[in-house]
Symmetry: C2
Subunit: 339 residues, 2 copies
């Protein structure tokens, strides 16, 4: 196969204020760099777009540095090695790495890892249910919320990549009852019919607080938060004594230009002795092996289900990102590089 001389890559060209627009991004051509000794050249097949990327588009210092202007953005990707100057990596190997948002990536061998073999799962599972988003759900439940046998668990954003896995894992880890929220009848139907949630709440249909109170008359013990805002307020009301909130994300506020409306009932944390704890999957790297073993088995045997929404063509990657931010995905949002 002869390689092209240039690669298309998505640059951030302006820092969005509020919702990003097309003017904030540009798909540019850049020369493909030959791999130096110790490096590999990867042709990306599939790219991941994730909510945390919105934070990286801001100037503000966060736990990861902001994307630089006029440089390619980064993110999880899966691709095929097309040239290798590194020992132990062969042309044709399928690898995972973090130089997404582009067609070709030249990078040190140490930055790539082989797609695990031996599990009966599609390769793209390692960008989702068995990748960062699944690992996030697992870490939040096991190490942050510390889900116990018999817990009633509420998951927001439950049709998304993290939430759908969190809901199913909660059950597999011993929860007695799992409640999820999502937007619209199609998604909520999926929660109960495909992912085994006991109850699904459509937050677009009625205020989430009243719905949760009705769905959990005896309260909840754990809240896995992907949304923040009104969902967190509803959860604080519903949480039982010694309840735990695994704060994974607060997507409701990522595109706000004004400080977000916050839960007005935060004072409940004292009397109920609640714990609200933020976490990032990168701090739970030590858990990855256990996660892959346990969740890999569950995915292979069909006990842990997952869906993907795949947008075709790298030229639609920013559309895919924005569609995901608006909730227009079911399960993991991915971009197939070659449309």
């Amino acid at each position: 196969m002869s390689l092209p001389s240039t690669s298309r890559e998505w640059h951030l060209v302006a820092r969005p204020s509020g919702w990003p627009t097309d003017d904030d991004f540009a798909l540019r051509e850049a020369p493909i760099k030959e791999p130096a000794p110790g490096q590999v050249l990867v042709r990306n097949r599939c790219l991941s777009v994730d909510p945390y990327m919105r934070g990286r588009m801001n100037e503000t210092k966060s736990y990861v540095p902001p994307f630089r202007l006029d440089e390619p953005m980064t993110g999880d990707a899966i691709g095929e090695v097309v040239a290798s100057e590194a020992e132990g990596i062969e042309v044709g190997d399928l690898v995972l790495h973090q130089l997404g948002w582009r067609e070709y990536a030249t990078l040190p061998a140490a930055w790539v890892s082989a797609v695990p073999r031996g599990l009966d799962v599609p390769d793209t599972a390692f960008l989702g249910v068995l990748g960062m988003t699944g690992h996030t759900a697992y870490a939040g439940l096991k190490e942050v919320a510390k889900v116990r046998e018999g817990d009633v668990v509420f998951v927001s954003g439950a049709a998304g990549a993290v939430g759908s896995v969190a809901g199913q894992l909660a059950r597999l880890l011993g929860a007695s009852r799992v409640i999820g929220s999502a937007g619209g009848p199609e998604k909520t139907r999926l929660l109960t019919e495909e992912y085994g949630f006991d109850t699904a709440l459509d937050y677009k249909a009625a205020p989430i607080g009243a719905q949760l109170a009705e769905a959990a008359p005896d309260g909840i013990d754990v809240y896995f938060d992907n949304v923040g805002g009104d969902h967190l307020e509803a959860a604080l009301d519903a949480l039982n004594t010694f309840g735990r909130v695994a704060a994974c994300g607060m997507i409701s506020s990522y595109n706000d230009t004004e400080p977000s409306p916050a839960p007005r009932n935060l004072g409940l944390v004292v009397g109920k002795r609640l714990r609200i704890e933020g976490f990032l999957v990168m701090d739970h790297a030590a858990l990855r092996e256990t996660f892959l073993r346990e969740a890999g088995e569950w995915v292979s045997t069909g006990r842990l289900r997952h869906r993907e929404t795949v947008v075709e063509g790298i030229e639609h990657a920013t559309d895919a990102f924005l569609r995901m931010m608006r909730g227009g995905n079911v399960g993991k949002m991915l971009v197939a590089v070659d449309g």
Copy 2:
């Protein structure tokens, strides 16, 4: 000594909406009950008034049942046994118990505990620095915030009964720097001159957020929250990665009739991996012995200082309570029963 036949006691006669008023309380005379076998009669000397009592005046179910209308309120008290039908308790013994808000209390021997002896401290210390409020500060720092060597600690309500002890204990437990907030120049001077805070912020003089940012340019690691609201928002901004909030109380909102304005930056808990954890001293009873041994030594040797604001006369007990709620106390607010 001959005993009177009646005891004055404070009844809650209406549930306050917002700030309590005189109409919500009544000082009533009730016959003194002779102690039955196994009971003692205690003549109260000193009563404790505390912020948590405001919550008990509401109808709403909380971690402790609401005060009942037209019955005497309860709270920590210290008094002298004047009649005993219980083995091992003698007339003249000084005891601690929880039937405060009244002159005389008849109660089972199991409900009283002897005032500890052998420490060079005033008896009333066991209603404050060596009582519930000191124990609260100790539990919040040791078991909730888990203060470590080198931490920068911020304490709000730092001139109060819990806050003044929390600030000093933080230092004794290894904090490298302790910042406190209080209202007005008299209190803030006390923080640095008497309690050894490194920096005192007067929240009445300027917005607390800007003051805290300036006082802690490298951030804070622990926030001991007695206030909530703007203080919690300021702390979330200032907290470093893996920072911890011991949520002890949120006095800024106890008399609100509308839901409180909440910190608008709660989303920071995710990226910074913050932990906000509510606690009540009653869940940390197992720590009491260690606390008494350690803090008792520090109080005796002058390393842990404490102040009291004593209001004279049981007829002024509700005034004392309200004055404390408005910040009109320095250190522990107490009521001497006989004015």
